[in-house]
Subunit: 349 residues, 2 copies
DNA sequence: TAACATGACTATAACGTTTTCGTGTTGATA
DNA sequence: TATCAACACGAAAACGTTATAGTCATGTTA
């Protein structure tokens, strides 16, 4: 196996000590200009580049951060990763990605694999199973070991760390209010089970909006999808539930869906039932991804600025890392709210 | 800054040597069962876990692989990453992601950032700019330094490394032939400029299919999109070009698009022009992503099995890494072709 | 001319492991 | 009672760096 050039090799060939080589490459004033030039020339010739692993060991920091997400085949998470990469790379950090596949044990395993020195800190969005179990031991353990953590999107108060969140309730309230302003009278919501924090919060926003308009919520109009299965796999199931909703309540004239898949599928079902969008039924989704943009009609949606979230999360994390390394007393914990925007398109009037 | 438990600490507190602790934790027969038990108990108490960086330095391998892709907000690449993660994690490898954003210099920088010891090998799909420049120096340099490389999807013959490719031409030929079999007479293709290898190859397949049916290709029906801009940004431009095509040739009754975005936008434009799909116009895309699945009508498409590609790429790479470490003579270079599948949906008859 | 500052290096420890090669204490053997 | 395994452990080198603390000629100063 061919091996990379090291300081030792340079030193031997140039017949000086390792220290001299190291210092020369760093333009140390201790070294004569003559030797500096010689060393540098030779280093370039042999294409020397310092071994990062050795540096990591010496400096006790790896300059890489780990991001653990439930699923990468998901526009939102993908945007967040992009944001994290942007900021991290600009600061000289690398990004290592772990996928939990919505599974608790995968999340734990992935984190353990990285928490043994491979990374300086974590950016995390919990798996669905973790939320259900409410078992946060691996997070607190991490914090106990002094590894900084930033959570985003799927966050939970119990964990004392920095957080980046979307104002889910507010985004949902504005979406629902918009539906109301545009004349909808009977608005259904397609949401998740309550253990999914974002679903719960968005449902809350929906209820708040109804309240503001003095409308009593109807249990029948709140469809809580049990997505124990992965998205792709239970499409028919999802369609069936929505079909039932629309058939039982043909006078529904507004739908707020807590993600873009639910919204798009709702539109599809509506089309099958020959319900005109936005004429008879207006639809608003959450997450401004590919589906929303290219659906027909294009979907009005709440955009959550994933890239900005990623950047912010990376910023918070790197700040903590520096704090830790330089032994700065430590700022109080921050929770940054990234506000949403409503993007009006053709699924509303 | 709080520090992690090390062998040294365990040794001091247990009043034995570091070697003893190390050996005890590995159940070395040199150590008495008594001490083994004691050491292990204490290690568990202090939650000791070996420092990965130190191990990497010692073993001269990091057990992580780098994947460099042009864009992460892209269903196909996302699937590939997933496949890579699957296989890599199962083998105890971590995955570090670098994004080139289709830029040559980003690609180079990213690779240099990782090629200094941070990773054991690369999995790469070239940026568009790299393909245009045809400057592959950073790849060959990498290989010269003995870092194994596996390219996928956007590959090029000049580089002597393992490759994982889609049979683009064949997939395109089958798609076009299917259009012909289903009665289309005048088939247009929406493709990329020729420097994008996959676009070029898919165009080739299209031409082959026409040839097999004794149809002379018409230059006018071959729309080569210049996607110097990023996808999202030039949608109107894209739409305009397709609109022009359909207006100039109202008798086009089949479209083969080399990616799903082009296909979906084509359907959108057709709808605007009140062309019935699949009645008057049949459409087939490439890449089986979200858009295809949820378009209306759902898009018939060539699926390229991104996840399988990722898994294969990881397998090839890890094989090379092991070869290198164990100094095995080195197998001849392999190029694996992942065959495509045509998924029939409602945009064709 | 003895003391001392300067310039230009080198030696060494340290980061946290693993592993090879000792080393000292037993108990058995001849 | 020497000799020798077997046993249980320790010392030290190595992976590739950096930083601190020497070292040793010079040249300068009082």
């Amino acid at each position: 196996m061919k091996k990379r050039t090291t300081l030792k090799q340079l030193a031997k060939e140039l017949d000086v000590s390792i220290s001299t080589v190291s210092k020369a490459l760093k333009n140390s004033p201790e070294i004569s200009q003559d030797t500096i030039d010689k060393v540098k020339a030779f280093a370039k010739l042999l294409n020397y580049r310092p071994n990062n692993i050795a540096l990591s060991l010496k400096n006790r920091k790896t300059k890489t951060i780990g991001i653990i997400i439930p699923d990468i085949v998901h526009h939102f998470f993908t945007k967040v990763i992009k944001g994290v990469e942007n900021y991290a790379n600009a600061q000289g950090y690398n990004v290592i990605v772990g996928l939990s596949n919505e599974s608790f044990s995968n999340e734990v395993i992935n984190m353990e694999m990285l928490a043994n020195g491979s990374i300086d800190g974590f950016i995390i969005s919990m798996s669905r199973e973790t939320m259900q179990r409410q078992d946060y031991q691996h997070f607190t353990e991490c914090l106990n070991e002094g590894i900084p953590l930033v959570m985003f999107d799927r966050i939970v108060n119990e964990i004392p760390c920095d957080k980046v969140a979307v104002d889910d309730a507010k985004g949902a309230r504005i979406a629902t209010e918009t539906l109301l302003e545009k004349g909808a009278k009977k608005i259904a919501i397609i949401t998740t089970k309550d253990y999914v924090s974002v679903g719960r919060l968005r449902t809350k926003g929906y209820l708040e909006a109804l309240g503001a308009y003095d409308i009593n919520p109807t249990a029948d109009l709140i469809l809580k999808i049990d997505d124990d299965l992965l998205y792709e796999d239970h499409l028919e199931n999802l369609e069936a539930q929505i079909r039932k909703l629309l058939k039982n309540h043909p006078d529904i004239d507004g739908i707020f869906a807590v993600n873009e898949l639910y919204a798009v599928v709702a539109m599809k079902v509506a089309k099958e039932l020959e319900i005109d969008i936005p004429g008879q039924l207006q639809v608003i989704g959450f997450t401004d991804g590919m589906l929303s943009k290219h659906a027909s009609p294009a979907l009005t949606t709440v955009s959550q600025h994933g890239e900005a979230m990623g950047e912010k999360a990376a910023e918070l994390l790197i700040q903590r890392i520096d704090e830790r390394v330089d032994d700065i007393p430590g700022q109080p914990l921050k929770t940054t709210i990234i506000s949403t925007d409503l993007i009006l398109r053709n699924s509303t009037k």
